[in-house]
Subunit: 148 residues, 2 copies
DNA sequence: AGCAGGTAGTCAAGCAGCTTGACCATCTAT
DNA sequence: ATAGATGGTCAAGCTGCTTGACTACCTGCT
């Protein structure tokens, strides 16, 4: 594959990602969850399964644990999560979503579906599923680095 | 398309975009262009065709013109671009890439090709081209908002 | 021609989110 | 039992962005 093709692919991917992020963020706000940034959303996806420690969150977000701790402060203060004692480690605290946190997560899913809808109209559902499958095969499992 | 599917697609897209950004950035650095951030790369793509004014750059990046001006200061100081008088407007200045700026752009293309290579090995060139075509059809023309 | 309002760019101050560094409490391995 | 590693927080500092204010220049209307 030529360099210029690779660059065109990269540019398109980044442009789509940027717009998607914006649309999901706007959709979440429109549903009444304010004062959140996209980084909080990335945190929610890590917290959702069964909670996580600050350090785990820091690894997932690709930031220092101080930054992660500060982010947790914010979402706790706003009522989206709470710190509970960790069941197996007295040093650690398990950060889990509150009911409001779950509601926000569901709102994000709705917003994502809304953001993707124009793609379905343009490409068809079959093509969008194909896109999803290809992306999922090349998606890394490492940290989500939002800082670019 | 279900909400959960849309969310999975979004997550995969953002993860891939994040990793791609990181790889291109690393590749550019490995080729000897240091002290640059991904945002500079987005600026270069706007400057490349025939230069741009600070205000045009600001719109493209989705930031204030003050921030864009500051970014131009940086890449001028580092020798990647220069400010020339605008041919038709004495208020404006046309920011154009220097030879070093072009060299950096070529390095970014090489890095992009390198970053995409594993995808080609995994999916095949035909599939990656299909991915590119789909993404280009849904890519917006608006500002690249790197701040998420 | 001349003036009013809009636009390009810069200077200055402030802020938000991140980093590095230091520290204590607790866990784990020897 | 003790030494080192790990989870978390406090504090200070930096960087890239924002808002606000200003000058120089362009454009359209009278």
């Amino acid at each position: 594959m030529q360099n210029s093709e690779a660059m065109a692919l990269s540019a398109a991917l980044l442009a789509v990602a940027g717009e998607l992020t914006q649309r999901i963020h706007d959709g979440v706000e429109a549903r009444g969850f304010e004062g959140l940034r996209p980084a909080h959303g990335f945190a929610f996806t890590r917290l959702a399964p069964g909670g996580a420690t600050v350090t785990e969150l820091a690894v997932h977000l690709g930031v220092t644990k101080q930054a992660a701790s500060q982010l947790v402060d914010e979402i706790v203060r706003k009522g989206y999560a709470e710190r509970r004692p960790h069941p197996h480690d007295a040093r650690a605290r398990l950060v889990v979503l509150t009911e409001q946190g779950w509601a926000c997560t569901r709102a994000a899913e709705e917003a994502a579906a809304e953001a993707v809808r124009p793609w379905v109209e343009l490409l068809g559902e079959r093509e969008v599923r194909a896109l999803r499958d290809r992306l999922m095969r090349i998606a890394p499992s490492g940290p989500i680095k939002p800082n670019w």
